[in-house]
């Protein structure tokens, strides 16, 4: 039994599931990296993602095209980001309060929309919500394991990795990236160098909103073709955690997101072995704690720092 469990955990099936489950996390947290690096203080990941999930389903339902669904999800992310930006940058609202309000409001809003638009509660399941179809790569067929993991995925899965890579290039190889990193480290110095700090924060907020919206649309359109209440179930927070642990470095963040995706996959795999679902359901969050703890221990230098220079 024990070895069975271990075997399953390391099987291509688990890896394939991990890849699919981490896709929205990777897309979202790559956008989140931009947010993190400019220190916008935006924590409303869950809100952007859940709203994106609803509008992804809705767009696809209206047009019959998953692509249009994703597009509408991106637009919803942009609108939320714009409102956030006006509140925080122009009206000087407290970023944390706005984020908390956003996150709590998103659940209520999407549940309300579920009733208003589809006149249903809990879950809306309809063939009119058209999902992305799986892509097939013939050249992977001869290798069963690779075939199982990397073949038959929807476009967004491949896009996720490309997006991370582009994010990395933009952030570390272009003047734009250098400037935005500087804005996060020392806004005063950036301003003295003639950088419009607010503009950079706005751009990064927009990037974050768009990619979280897109990430949200993955869930209803990855094959399930449904929208349910609180569909994201804390995945937005996993995105936030990935960017924080990855310190805003897109590649590092991607690996953390993969780890969380893997933990998510375990919950599916292990439930077939009769392990109580409550325990399995904790896995991704336990993983968050373990990751944070190990990062924390690595950085721990012992003793309280009285001089306060770590603050």
């Amino acid at each position: 039994m024990f070895w069975d469990v271990i075997g399953t955990c390391l099987s291509p099936v688990a890896a394939a599931a991990a890849l699919r489950l981490s896709c929205p996390l990777i897309i979202g947290s790559t956008g989140g990296c931009f947010n993190e690096k400019t220190s916008t203080g935006n924590l409303a990941y869950e809100c952007f993602m859940l709203t994106g999930a609803f509008f992804g389903a809705y767009g696809s339902y209206l047009t019959g095209s998953p692509l249009m669904g994703s597009l509408l999800a991106i637009v919803s992310g942009l609108v939320l980001a714009a409102i956030y930006g006006v509140l925080v940058y122009h009206l000087n609202c407290n970023a944390i309060i706005v984020s908390v309000a956003y996150n709590s409001a998103a659940w209520a809003l999407t549940t309300l929309l579920l009733v208003v638009v589809w006149n249903t509660r809990g879950q809306f399941n309809d063939p009119s919500i058209v999902s992305y179809s799986n892509l097939e790569w013939a050249f992977l067929k001869p290798f069963p394991a690779l075939d199982m993991i990397f073949n038959y995925n929807i476009l967004m899965v491949y896009f996720a990795f490309a997006f991370t890579f582009i994010g990395y290039i933009v952030m570390y190889k272009t003047p734009f990236g250098l400037r935005l990193r500087g804005v996060g480290i020392n806004p005063d110095a950036a301003q003295a160098a003639g950088i419009n700090v607010r503009k950079y924060r706005w751009i990064c907020l927009i990037i974050m909103g768009a990619s979280m919206g897109l990430a949200g649309s993955y869930m209803p359109l990855c094959g399930m073709s449904l929208f349910s209440e609180n569909m994201t179930r804390g995945r937005g927070f996993l995105c936030l955690t990935s960017t924080l642990v990855g310190k805003g470095h897109p590649i590092r963040t991607m690996f953390v997101a993969l780890l969380f995706g893997y933990a998510n996959a375990m919950t599916l795999v292990l439930s077939t072995y009769g392990i109580p679902t409550q325990i399995i359901g904790m896995l991704p969050y336990v993983m968050v704690l373990i990751v944070l703890l190990s990062v924390g221990i690595k950085n721990y230098k012992g003793g309280a720092d009285i001089s306060g220079d770590t603050l």
Binding site: G182, I185, N186, A189, A192, A193
Partner: protein, 511 residues
Amino acid sequence: MNGDEYILEMRNITKTFGDLVANDGVTLRVKKGSVHALVGENGAGKSTLMNVLACLYKQDYGDIVLNGRHVHFRNSRDAARSGIGMVHQEFMLFKDLTVLENIMYGFEEKTAWIFINKRKTKRKIKEICEKYHFNIPLEAKVNDLPVSMLQQVEIVKVLYKGADIIVLDEPTSVLTPQGVEGLFDAIRFLARSGKTIIFITHKLKEVFAVADTITVLRDGRVTGNVRPEDVNENELARLMVGREVMLQADRSARELGGVFLRAEDVSVRDKDGVLRLKHANFDIREGEIVGIAGVAGSGQQQLVEAIFGLSGVEEGGKITFLGQDITRAEPRERRRMGMGYVPQDRLGVGANALGTVWENSIMGYHISHGFKSKVFLRHKEIDEFTGRVVSQFNVKTPNIYEKLGNLSGGNIQKLIVGRESIQDNRLLIVEDPTRGIDVGAVEFVWAKMLEIASSGRAILLVSHELNEVMQLSDRILVVYNGEIFDGGRYQEKNDREIGLLMLGGGESDAG
């Protein structure tokens, strides 16, 4: 007029912040290739004027004429492109980025329109470094470099941006005497190479050492345009402050009493486990001012923390205060025994910028000296005490309910020194008491410290300002790399000798 002769003219610049007139019709004319000193007390409007020049502020009235042409900058990048480079007092650096990235920030060389051309940028910076004799590691992270190096980075940065006029805002406040010499050499070299330097300072010695012309500001107005050969230090000080000032501490001979504090074999490790203070042995006697000189980070901080009880002392060390062993006592216990502390970081450690003046004047003494009844604060007593601090230490504040953060640095410092010394403290630990405060306030704080010592108390003075240590201390100790060296009694050694001790400890003494 003399349009060709002056590279920069700022005419009748007026800048107000609400009711405060920071610059009131200031006119500044700077010649090409000169070192122009802009002197004045803190709050005189020097930095405001330069921020107007760099377009960090917009002036209300007045014109800027650069190379004979009127200019209107839209933002600070615009100003930088026109050849104005600013080295701020607080370094404008990104600590997690490399030196290279810091220098090119905002002015990157590009390939294919969008990518950073690192090689080309690096070559360009290397050329500048060679031309102007700077030696900085381009790939190192800014975080890992010493302060004097960071200053070079800042200067190279403005040169990279093509600055013809380089504004240095209080550049020496972070440097050792030797570092200051190095900076002055660099300034002279830059001026010889055709660059124009505007040098902001309130230290008069530096003005005479390096400036070609001097403009003095007081309360937002120009009070003098002079040449260093035409004035002496006292005249310049009078232009700055508007009255006679004492530049030498007024010392009267004092009787030294018994030993107040004795440190025996005190060693301290920092939070990384590195030994930062090694086997320190010294006494502080009644009526004595003991000055600690040293390059920043040589162990002064650990020394102070050990004495005040903020860091633990290694096994075998012992600190005795007024005859009692206090090696393991809490800071609160030490305060109760009569130990006062004026920390270097005024707003971080010494006071609460968001609190009121009265809250800050009882801070740290609300327990030991009975400002409260069983539960509540006794406001009558507090008001009376705060009033004493404010009046005796000449703290300029509208009332005692004012938020501390609205006071100037000098006034905050006076409040803290006042708070610690009006208390019945026997020993005051004072760190950098005059950092960033103006000449008038320096004079005042110095006089107060000497007065405190004469009234049968003792002071441990830790300062990065060598002149201050030499002026005030009865006995000087020099820390170098965690070890303590004897810097002699008052006026026993000159600043050159002590500077050498600061840089090399005992070994360099012979050479």
